[in-house]
């Protein structure tokens, strides 16, 4: 490959600059890992493998694990080529995820407390909420 490289085109292809970060092995591990984690979550839920609260905890743990797997094997966190930019993007991502997940949990639990409860749930919810 003796082609004369133009000064800027394709500079962004991280793999050409930093081949270790994008190995085939890493992608396959990430891919199979993601599939396995998804299947485990599905099967646990399908067979109701544990009690309600334990199952919720397990699913959340599996989701976070998959999040980490994809960050490491697909987005190569920790092996970055230009740390500053990646740090910015990463913090933005974490902020957005927190806003969306946290916001959705807040909104939906608030809604459930108000519109879908049994009397017992309603009482519990009202005791939790100072403003009601």
């Amino acid at each position: 490959m003796n082609k004369i490289k133009n000064s800027q085109t394709y500079d962004v292809l991280v793999s050409r600059h930093n081949p270790e970060s994008a190995s085939l092995r890493g992608y396959i591990i990430g891919f199979l890992g993601s599939i396995a984690l998804t299947l485990i979550a599905y099967l646990l839920t399908y067979y109701h493998a544990a009690g309600r609260d334990v199952l919720f905890g397990l699913l959340a743990a599996l989701a976070l694990t998959q999040f980490a797997v994809q960050l490491i094997y697909f987005l190569h966190v920790g092996k970055e080529f230009s740390p500053r930019l990646k740090l910015i993007v990463m913090s933005c991502m974490i902020i957005v995820v927190c806003i969306l997940v946290g916001g959705s949990l807040w909104i939906m639990s608030n809604l459930n407390g108000r519109v879908m409860p049994s009397t017992k749930q309603m009482t519990r919810y009202m005791n939790d909420q100072d403003n009601l």
């Binding site: 490959m1 082609k3 004369i4 490289k5 133009n6 000064s7 800027q8 085109t9 394709y10 500079d11 962004v12 930019l85 933005c92 991502m93 957005v96 806003i99 969306l100 916001g103 959705s104 807040w106 909104i107 939906m108 608030n110 809604l111 459930n112 407390g113 108000r114 519109v115 909420q129 403003n131 009601l132």
Partner: protein
């Protein structure tokens, strides 16, 4: 007959019954079928197939991809407009004992199609079209970061467009509104394929948009020419950067929400059903967590266009550059924490509603900062009142009226009164048409001469502008009033005693005036093409400031023969004033080869989605072709070609002398 039954098994839910039977739908379907046939016939007669394939279908050049985006968007705009005319006709005459021209279900389908098409295939198409055309030029790049991905994004967008139009010919379309809330969009209440068409069309176009968003995010961050730091970028690039950031973070939510809805419909899951532990409000929550950023995704690049236009036509540099940048990022951040204002009435507590209401009011502040910056840019400028600036002035008025209506609705108790009313419809049309569409019209008029070498006819442009503005106010001011009177959106019939008919008639007249304006725009295009030799515009017709105007017209396929030297903001403006002459050596240029693979991915995904819609499972296997193509492509090392320095020099001379 038994053969037919066998076939019916193979073809899933598809049968002859699914083709249209009533005259109006047959007419629409006929048009949808006729238009491609006419295009194919013209191409065959003029022997242009090879040209089309080589120059356009396989291209990796963002300028050509941008033009294709805009052509698709214009075609879809015509469809969206004809939907409007049907809706308004129906609402003007369907009073009391008269039922109008459309059945209730047909009317709901048309309203849903209008919203979906206008947002996903017109506004998004115009936006990505202009971004493809302008961003690489403004940052001094020869291409986008991932050219193949860029072409693939376009073809996914195109496939989504084809799928949504197929629904007019085969089967029906969703009647569940443009965001298809469950439980109405669940299988139980929408048993036909309409909602499936909606889901898969948006799924495909949405993934295309996501990929394009990531592409331009990386392009702007990594491909700027040497010397152009972020704070030296033209304001259009800043606003695109903000918008693409939102695309990258918001569109995955859409993909997930649609996938879960598809699971509910096709696999019997219970994510959004009332029974089985599902919660339909979770869908509304997810879709708006995408949907609110989407509004800003559309409007931010339009803001960027206005920044360029106002400064070019006031002959001043942009006022308050730094505050503009901060305003963009404030909007980006705030747009992620306001989504609940779309469903204040779902029953959440006052804490939740108050938080999102206040955040919504705050987002008006950075928008106001931007508006004042534009006005200050115009202040004591030497105004050149050409159509792009007229579009800006109309935008400033309309957007402010609509924006104030929005702040009003951000107050939860008031929203309880106005939720789902025509007041809301008037508000968001003022934002999307007054903000986004006017912005892209200004942008197209402004940048048109850069790519075609002649200006658009100014007189016809003004006629179009005034028709648009007057028609627009006629069409939407009555809706504010109707909204206060209690008229809800998607209303296909109402009682004569309500006294709404005169206002609906005025709104209908407004729609017709807008249609006349669109007619003038087509006349403008035709006349401008006919008179192109009288109206040649040169390389820099507006005496503008940013780098794209330094290029020869039409822009060479490699953009820059020598990469521009940038030391300051508005580098081209300074170069013009100081008469700098570029004496640097030419260097070889590496560019991507054309390839049909992007198109093949798009078509195979289209067939896949069609098969899923109709449950033709064997046909869905075609989707695997896309995966095969991606694998083949990723093995290909030979995806670029190089133009030698000598050739670049010769080409540059030819382009500069206008020989090409």
């Amino acid at each position: 007959m038994s053969l037919f039954n066998n076939l019916a098994g193979i073809l899933g839910k598809l049968s002859l019954k699914q083709f249209p039977h009533d005259p109006l739908t047959m007419f629409g379907a006929g048009l949808i079928v006729l238009v491609p046939i006419v295009i194919i016939a013209i191409l065959t007669v003029t022997k242009r197939w090879r040209w089309l394939y080589r120059e356009w279908l396989t291209t990796q050049d963002p300028k050509r991809i941008g033009i294709m985006y805009i052509i698709v968007a214009i075609a879809m705009g015509l469809r969206g407009l004809s939907d409007v005319l049907l809706i308004r006709t129906q609402q003007a005459i369907s009073v009391g004992s008269s039922q109008g021209i459309l059945s209730a279900s047909h009317f709901q389908q048309i309203v849903s199609a209008h919203g979906t098409i206008m947002i996903f295939f017109v506004a998004m198409g115009l936006m990505f079209g202009i971004i493809n055309l302008i961003v690489p030029l403004q940052i001094g790049a020869r291409d986008v970061a991932f050219p193949f991905l860029n072409a693939t994004s376009f073809w996914l967008f195109f496939s989504g467009m084809v799928l949504i139009n197929l629904s007019l010919v085969i089967g029906d379309f969703s009647a569940a509104g443009w965001l298809a809330y469950p439980p109405l969009s669940e299988l139980k209440y929408s048993p036909t394929v309409g909602v499936d068409y909606w889901i898969w069309s948006l799924e495909i176009a949405g993934v295309g948009s996501l990929l394009a968003g990531i592409n331009f995010l990386v392009t702007i961050l990594k491909m700027r020419v040497k010397g152009m730091s972020l704070m030296k970028m033209p304001m259009f690039c800043w606003s695109v950067l903000g918008s693409m950031f939102l695309v990258a973070f918001a569109f995955p939510i859409l993909t997930v929400a649609l996938t879960l809805l598809a699971f509910d419909r096709d696999l019997g899951t219970h994510f959004f059903t009332s029974g089985g532990g599902g919660n339909m409000m979770m869908y509304v929550n997810l879709i708006w967590a995408w949907g609110h950023p989407e509004v800003y995704i559309l409007v931010l690049p339009a803001f960027g266009v206005f920044s360029e236009v106002v400064s070019a036509f006031s002959r001043k540099k942009l006022f308050g550059y730094t505050s503009m940048v901060w305003a963009i990022w404030a909007i980006v951040f705030l747009s992620f924490i306001v989504w609940l204002h779309h469903f204040f009435t779902m029953g959440a507590g006052s804490n939740v509603n108050a938080f999102f209401g206040i955040m919504t009011m705050i987002i008006a502040v950075p928008t106001g900062v931007k508006l004042f910056n534009w006005l200050f840019t115009m202040y004591r400028g030497k105004l050149d009142l050409k159509t792009p600036l007229l579009w800006f002035i109309a935008f400033a008025v309309v957007f402010t009226i609509g924006g104030m209506a929005g702040v009003l609705m951000a107050v939860p108790p008031i929203d309880f009164q106005l939720h789902n009313s025509l007041f809301l419809v008037a508000h968001f049309h003022m934002m999307i048409v007054g903000g986004v569409v006017f912005g892209y019209f200004a942008g197209i008029t402004y940048w048109f001469p850069k790519f075609f070498g002649f200006k658009l006819n100014e007189r016809l442009g003004r006629y179009a502008f005034w028709c648009w503005l007057i028609g627009f106010l006629l069409a939407f001011i009555p809706l504010y009033i109707l909204g206060f009177m209690g008229a809800t959106r998607r209303l296909n019939h109402y009682s004569a005693s309500l006294g709404w008919q005169p206002l609906f008639v005025v709104a209908g007249i407004g729609a017709v005036v807008i249609a006349v304006g669109v007619g003038f725009q087509f006349l403008q295009l035709i006349f401008s093409i006919l008179q192109r030799h009288q109206n040649t515009s040169g390389d820099d017709p507006w005496d503008a400031r940013s780098l794209e105007w330094s290029l020869p017209t039409p822009v060479p396929f490699y953009n820059y023969a020598r990469l521009p030297a940038v030391t300051e903001r508005d580098a081209f403006w300074i170069a013009k004033r100081t008469h700098q002459i570029d004496t640097r050596e030419y260097e070889p240029i590496e560019l991507p080869r054309n390839t049909p693979l992007s198109m093949i991915i798009g078509v195979s995904i289209l067939i896949f989605a069609f098969a899923i819609v109709w449950h033709i499972w064997w046909l869905a296997a075609v989707g695997l072709l896309a995966a095969v193509v991606i694998i083949i492509r990723s093995m290909d090392e030979n995806t670029t070609y190089t133009i030698s320095a000598n050739e670049v020099m010769k080409l540059d001379k030819l382009y500069r002398e206008g020989e090409v």
